[in-house]
Amino acid sequence: MEIILSFLPPCLWAFVACVAFGLVFNIWGGGILICGFGGALGWFVYLLAQHLLTDDIVAAFLAAVAIAVYSEIMSRIRRCPVTGYLQVALLPLVPGAGIYYSMRYCVAGETQLFLNTLLHTFGFAASLAVGAMLASTVMRALLPWINRWRVMCLGAGTPSAKEKE
């Protein structure tokens, strides 16, 4: 429990930072809060997975899956393209520091460190991309079924997701 509580401050910082970058990307209205929550959610999943599995590439994959599922659902509800939510929510995870450090090692002539960091950065970025693509593809396949099920159970679905198809 204490460990989970210790995850909360970084998630809060990620939330505010994502909201600020949402402004830079010219996102309006409720979308900006959606991005912030996506960033916080992704970072929470990442920290939890890293704590349980101790492997940061797998943790990045799981976090990207969580963010992509969340963004797909939100984009269906708000009927907006998923691009913005996905990009901003992934910001805390993207390996900016990794690519920066690897090029610094390159400029400093530390070839071995440069290659290690660069390959790890590429792996990290690739696992984020695979996670996001996989979750988006699965969601796109599943959503019509979820919709049909909801219409059956509730009598009528909300118009948002139905009109999208």
Binding site: A20, V24, N26, P81, T83, G84, Q87, A97, A125
Partner: protein, 250 residues
């Protein structure tokens, strides 16, 4: 039907989408769907700085238009509007003149924040990313100041003077790094590393690299490769800027 105007219209929508930072597959699919809604079988090809749309009229006359995409940022508001308009036109193809007018108005009618909001975004983003990377409250404040300097450089000095992307990034990174060192020397900031990384999140191409990987996974290999090269070039500019300012700081 006026096929020249139709082609212009499709290309213009694709250009707006691309300019707002949409993914390659979204641009290709949107233009394809739009022209298909008007009863044609178009061919669309896009890479990050070029869009080619080609179609054959029912009389068998092929026409093609190519449009170059200048360097651009990300503008989600414009992207959402383009997407909404495209969906609307696909569902209900308006007469070409009317549709063209709607597309031409996209850019003028979109909402944009005043400049100080963008600057505030840079300040708050840099500050909280510094806290996120393990800095204390004072580090966050210093990173906010550095973020403000980078924002002013990018928006008011670098872009109007016509610096190209590489030098804009290089000088931005140098400013951020010098200012961070100065603030740590004065005693405002404590951890140089988290201040620098937090500020450089504004410039760093982590997003570009992840997008490049997504393009490659989606099958757009050429786009993915050119975006990867772009990300590495940007990272080189940042590290050169930091190294230069380290040399000055010594």
């Amino acid at each position: 039907m006026d096929y020249d105007n139709l082609l212009n219209m499709g290309t213009e929508l694709g250009y707006q989408l691309m300019y707002s930072g949409a993914e390659i597959y979204r641009v290709e699919e949107s233009v394809h769907r739009l022209l298909t809604a008007y009863g044609l079988q178009p061919q669309v090809f896009a890479i990050p700085n070029c869009l080619i749309v080609s179609l054959t009229t029912p009389e068998g006359h092929p026409i093609t238009r190519m449009r170059r995409i200048p360097p651009h940022g990300t503008d989600i508001e414009l992207l959402e509007r383009c997407n909404g308009l495209c969906r609307r036109l696909c569902a209900d193809p308006l007469p070409i003149e009317q549709a063209k007018a709607l597309i031409d108005r996209l850019e003028q009618e979109k909402r944009a924040y005043p400049n100080w909001v963008y600057l505030a975004g840079y300040v708050v983003g840099a500050g909280f990313f510094a806290a996120f990377f393990g800095g204390g409250p004072l580090d966050a404040v210093s990173a906010g100041i550095c973020g403000l300097a980078v924002g002013i450089w990018l928006m008011y000095i670098g872009a109007p003077l016509g610096f190209n992307g590489f030098f804009r990034t290089l000088i931005g990174a140098a400013i951020a790094s010098l200012l961070a060192m100065g603030l740590v020397n004065v005693g405002v900031g404590q951890q140089l590393e988290s201040i620098t990384i937090g500020t450089l999140m504004v410039l760093v191409p982590g997003m570009a690299l992840t997008n490049a990987m997504r393009e490659i996974m989606a099958g757009d290999i050429i786009s993915g490769m050119s975006r990867t090269a772009d990300a590495i070039l940007t990272a080189t500019a940042i590290s050169l800027g930091v190294v230069i300012s380290l040399a000055i700081g010594m």
